[in-house]
C-alpha cells in the first residue's frame, strides 16, 4: 500500500488518476481503516487529503450558505457556534455516527462516499438539499448529495474524481431541519432506519419540505410523496398519518442482522412523524 499526502486537490486528483489497483482517499479513516484491518479492502494507493489547505474549514458564505471542508470531523461541526443553529439536523445526523472518539475523525464526505444506505449524515444532508463539489481530471462539477451513492458501497464518482467540498444552502427564515434514527441501543449502532426532514413555513403552514429515509433501500431515498403529504398542512394528525403511510410505502428494505423488512417499514413511518414534528417545532421556534 502506497501512502500519499498531496498538498492540493489537483495533486490528489492526478495521483488518483494515474494510480492502478484500488485507490482510497483518507480523511477520518473510520471506514477505510476498519476495512483495512479486517482485510475487506486493502488499497494499493491511499491518498491522505488532510494536508490540503482549508479542508478542515467550516465557512459561512456571504449569501448565508455554508461550505464544509472534506476533512472537517464531526466534533468540529458539533462545536461550531453557528452551524448547528442553521442546520441542527445535519449536525445531529453527523454527531450520531459512532463514539466521541469516532467524532474526532469521521467526516461528512467519508460517510457519504462509504455509500452505506444506513449512513446517518446522508439523509440529513439530502433533506437539507446539500450538494457536493466534485473535482476530477476534467475540472469541477456540483452534484446533489442524493446522486452520489448508487448502490451499497458504490458511488457515481468516476476514476480520479473526488469530493472537494460540501455545500449547504442558506437556511433562510421560518425553516427547520431534523434527523432521527432508530437503533436498538442508545449509541454505537448502525441505523436500522433513519429519517431526515427539512421544511419551511408560512405562518403555521408548511410550504416547502424535503423528507429522506435511510437504511430502507439500497441507497438513501428522497421521498417526494412524504413531502407532498405535509406540504400545505399545519402538520396536524391527519398529515402526520399520511406522512407515515408515504414513508412506509417508500421503503424497499432487506431483512438482515439489524432489522426485518416489516420492522423497518413500520418504524420508517414512526420516525418520519417524529422527525417532522421536531423540524416543524424548530421552524416555529427559537432556532431559525
Amino acid at each position: 500500500m502506497d501512502y500519499h499526502t498531496p498538498a492540493s486537490f489537483d495533486e490528489a486528483v492526478s495521483l488518483a488518476t494515474s494510480a492502478s489497483g484500488i485507490t482510497r482517499f483518507l480523511a477520518g479513516g473510520t471506514d477505510v481503516l476498519v476495512q483495512l484491518r479486517a482485510d475487506i479492502v486493502t488499497p494499493d494507493t491511499l491518498i491522505d487529503i488532510k494536508h490540503i489547505p482549508g479542508v478542515r474549514d467550516i465557512t459561512q458564505n456571504a449569501d448565508g450558505s455554508w461550505t464544509i471542508g472534506v476533512a472537517a470531523p464531526g466534533a468540529e461541526m458539533s462545536e461550531h457556534p453557528q452551524l448547528g443553529q442553521d442546520w441542527p439536523g445535519v449536525v445531529e445526523g453527523m454527531d450520531l455516527i459512532g463514539s466521541t472518539q469516532v467524532q474526532g475523525r469521521a467526516t461528512l464526505v467519508g460517510n457519504l462516499c462509504n455509500a452505506s444506505p444506513a449512513a446517518d449524515s446522508v439523509p440529513a444532508m439530502v433533506a437539507a438539499g446539500a450538494t457536493v463539489t466534485v473535482t476530477g481530471p476534467d475540472g469541477t462539477r456540483t452534484v446533489a448529495v442524493e446522486d452520489i451513492p448508487t448502490a451499497p458501497g458504490r458511488t457515481s464518482l468516476a476514476k480520479g474524481e473526488m469530493i472537494s467540498a460540501v455545500n449547504l444552502p442558506a437556511r433562510g427564515e421560518n425553516a427547520g431541519d431534523a434527523y432521527l434514527r432508530f437503533i436498538p441501543r442508545t449509541e454505537m449502532d448502525i441505523a436500522v432506519v433513519g429519517c431526515g426532514v427539512n421544511l419551511r413555513l408560512d405562518g403555521d403552514t408548511i410550504v416547502e419540505a424535503r423528507v429522506s429515509l435511510g437504511a430502507v433501500a439500497p441507497t438513501v431515498l428522497l421521498v417526494q410523496e412524504c413531502a407532498d403529504a405535509i406540504i400545505g398542512t399545519t402538520l396536524d394528525e391527519a398529515a402526520l398519518d399520511k406522512l407515515a403511510e408515504a414513508a412506509s410505502a417508500a421503503c424497499n428494505p432487506i431483512t438482515d442482522k439489524r432489522g426485518t423488512i416489516k420492522f423497518r417499514t413500520h418504524v420508517a413511518g414512526v420516525l418520519a412523524k417524529r422527525t417532522a414534528q421536531i423540524a416543524y417545532d424548530r421552524a416555529k421556534g427559537a432556532s431559525k
Binding site: 470531523p73 466521541t100 475523525r105
Partner: protein, 160 residues
C-alpha cells in the same frame, strides 16, 4: 515488503521517531514500536475505545489512525496522564471508587474521561454516559466509572 515510512511525532511530551509500514495503525506503533502498551486493542474497529488516545488534543481511537498520519502530531496516552509519581485526579478516583475490575478498559476510559472534563468541567450523568458510550466495559456495569468521573469533576471544580 512495503517500504517503511519515517515518522517523527511527540508522544507524552517526548519526541519519538519510528519507521512503520503504511498499513500499521497508530495503536500498532505505540504498542509494538514504542513499547507503550497502555492503550489496548479490544476490537480494532473503533467500537470499544480501549485504544483511546488524544491526537493534537482530540480524542480518537488509535486503532483508527495510521502510524504514518502521526507525522508532526502531538499524542497523549494513558502513560502520560500522571505527573511523575503524582496521579491525575481521575486515576486516584478510579482506584478509590473501584471503578475498575479487570482494568483492561481503564486506560481508554481514563483518557476519554480526561478529555471530557477538559471540555466540560461540570457534566451531567447523562453527558458522562454518552461521552463514554464508545468505551466498552464488560465488568462494572459502568456505575462506579460514572461515579468516579462525576466525583473527580466535582473535586476539580472545587479546587479551581
Amino acid at each position: 515488503m512495503t517500504r517503511k515510512t519515517h515518522v517523527t511525532a511527540t508522544v507524552n511530551g517526548d519526541t519519538v521517531e519510528y519507521l512503520c509500514d503504511p498499513r500499521e495503525t497508530l495503536l500498532d506503533v505505540l504498542r509494538d514500536r514504542l513499547n507503550l502498551t497502555g492503550a489496548k486493542e479490544g476490537c480494532g474497529t473503533g467500537d470499544c475505545g480501549a485504544c483511546s488516545v488524544t491526537l493534537d488534543g482530540r480524542l480518537v481511537c488509535s486503532c483508527l489512525v495510521l502510524g504514518v498520519e502521526a507525522e508532526g502530531k502531538q499524542i497523549e496516552t494513558v502513560e502520560g496522564l500522571s505527573d511523575g509519581d503524582i496521579l491525575h485526579p481521575l486515576q486516584q478516583k478510579f482506584i478509590e471508587h473501584a471503578a475498575l475490575q479487570c482494568g483492561v478498559c481503564t486506560p481508554g476510559v481514563l483518557v476519554a474521561a480526561k478529555s471530557l472534563l477538559e471540555k466540560n468541567p461540570d457534566p451531567t450523568e447523562t453527558e458522562v454516559r454518552y461521552w463514554l458510550a464508545g468505551n466498552l466495559c464488560r465488568c462494572t456495569g459502568y456505575d462506579k466509572i460514572i461515579r468516579a468521573v462525576m466525583d473527580t469533576a466535582a473535586d476539580l471544580r472545587e479546587a479551581s
